[in-house]
Symmetry: none
Subunit: 195 residues, 4 copies
Amino acid sequence: MGEKSIQKRKYILKTAREVFMDKGFKSVTMKDIVEACEISRGGLYLYFESTEQIFLEVLKMESEEGDDVFSDSISDDATAAEILLLFLKEQKKELLRKKNSLTKAVYEYFFDNHPPRKENVLKKEFDAAVLIIERLIETGVENGEFVCEDCAGAARNIMYVLEGLKISAQTIGITSDMVDKELLYILRSLGVGME
Amino acid sequence: MGEKSIQKRKYILKTAREVFMDKGFKSVTMKDIVEACEISRGGLYLYFESTEQIFLEVLKMESEEGDDVFSDSISDDATAAEILLLFLKEQKKELLRKKNSLTKAVYEYFFDNHPPRKENVLKKEFDAAVLIIERLIETGVENGEFVCEDCAGAARNIMYVLEGLKISAQTIGITSDMVDKELLYILRSLGVGME
Amino acid sequence: MGEKSIQKRKYILKTAREVFMDKGFKSVTMKDIVEACEISRGGLYLYFESTEQIFLEVLKMESEEGDDVFSDSISDDATAAEILLLFLKEQKKELLRKKNSLTKAVYEYFFDNHPPRKENVLKKEFDAAVLIIERLIETGVENGEFVCEDCAGAARNIMYVLEGLKISAQTIGITSDMVDKELLYILRSLGVGME
Amino acid sequence: MGEKSIQKRKYILKTAREVFMDKGFKSVTMKDIVEACEISRGGLYLYFESTEQIFLEVLKMESEEGDDVFSDSISDDATAAEILLLFLKEQKKELLRKKNSLTKAVYEYFFDNHPPRKENVLKKEFDAAVLIIERLIETGVENGEFVCEDCAGAARNIMYVLEGLKISAQTIGITSDMVDKELLYILRSLGVGME
DNA sequence: CATGAATGAGAGTTCATTCAT
DNA sequence: GATGAATGAACTCTCATTCAT
């Protein structure tokens, strides 16, 4: 497969991504993707053989282009609290974004496909995030920014709350204010005043 | 509709419930339900006209038969902490229950169907639960069982963590120990020692 | 499946039979049969799930309705030579019948599907025919109608020649005269004069 | 067409031959051949325009490279019986060869394509073989090796039996012993003792 | 009420064939 | 000459939905 094909692959993945964002995972058919891409029925099969394969590659692409919140645009002398705040704000933006998110599709996919723990991308990302937050809190505690007896516990708590907010956003609906309240609650728990 | 028909409706709903627990919402077809119920194709249409209608009625039935944790089997002189613990244990049992739960189906359904806030069953249940927990914590604070500055915030935090655990159970997988850790973290936040 | 369905099954099998006679086995699609039967696409699948299944049932029907040459229309006092002649004439009629024969389809099917010996319908029929002819020749020998040192060998020889004629009819083409010549040769080998 | 192209044509035909031996005629697609040859889709069309054309050229190549049993490796002073035996052995080898034979493909092709008699390759070969065997038998009779009243009939009988054995080998299955029995029967009919 | 046969729309998939490079 | 991406026709199969009985 030449240079040209690689471009087309990417084009298909990007277009399919839109479709998944719009319709989730289960409802998406090869036909949907064919039509969104404006290519021929058989054409799609030259590149991919199922919506599942396409979806997994979309996810891979997603994580490769990685929106690494923690490394992007953070000044070197930022405090732990500042970094955590930035992270939470990023998460808020993401979870309020109704249309521009793969969240629904990801959940739908993983509802029916439980890869063995070790290979579960979602789990890996979750664990990685917990670890990072834990380190961050520890740093904050050392600097006197945070108060916290169980940093690992606090980190996990934060992640589960975020998961809860994410799923709530997709099901019962959620507003900016509601998210703010939760995030403030979390920060206060860490002893951060809201002055 | 005679008595007989009402019985049959219930029978169909109960049987369909099993199907939804097994396959979620989106993948369930009228055919699946017809086969599970061992009735005729046309027969099902006499009672229901779509999987959506069936699913919504299953949910209604569910909440009517309401497993009201807070009222069932609680001695009148139970302490707030005891009641909260009971509730959390109940939630744990539910979210570890792989096969016997409508969780997946509910999420799948609400991903695509955002009824206006006021009518969203999920939201109502969520809010109701928050309220009850809030009261419970307040009572606990008055009794000196809990320490808590923002009871409403704590209640919401608990519910979001539970949501986070629920969705995690369905996607990345979760063990009994992992749930325990989170619940303990919550209780400690309320100043409950684990003696 | 009620009485009605059984009729329809038969109707489909009969119609499909025509299709197989016309196109052999491999080229026949479910669509061909659907169109020949003038039923709906899905309708056919209510009764059969593949052309293979249909074909095998056509064959079964065929052998059940058995054109039992040896039992039909044979007077009780017929001589062995008469019966053999009748049989050969029947075979001749069959193998000259260009359009009205499943021969091609049968060969095509068995080219790709070698069931274990024991279950091979073709083999069973072949062996049965050999046996019957063998008996017939033995009787003829006893009656002084035939001369033959190796009745079993002669019987097999006859069947293989018939097979050879059948396949030749379908490939290189064959005329009535050509068949006659072979049959006469066989009869002469058995010492039957052609007066 | 240059030298190079001629080589490539031959290469394609040889490779396609393998494919036909493996899958018969009808099931073989241009794609199959393209893949077996490891050339490009378009490339194949530069040389051939259909599987039919390819198949016919394979057959032509086959008969040109002619496995002339009667001329190969026969000492000049071989008796008629020896030559006939050699021929029959050759045929036996061929028809027991499951995988390395075009038999199935040839039959499949000629089932659907009855070229006018005069051009039918199969027929020509059949008739030629009959003639040669007839001559052989005549020679044998003159030499006192064979006893036979109708040499032409005997020759045709042999060829039809061989056809019968060939098709049986492809459909109901046949063993070395079974072939031997038939060949012996034929030879005995010619008055050849098996000493 | 209940049945289940029948229909037809629609999704999946494979290939023959073409054509720009 | 040679390539292989692209197209579109043709098939397979599954269901939601209807309707005569």
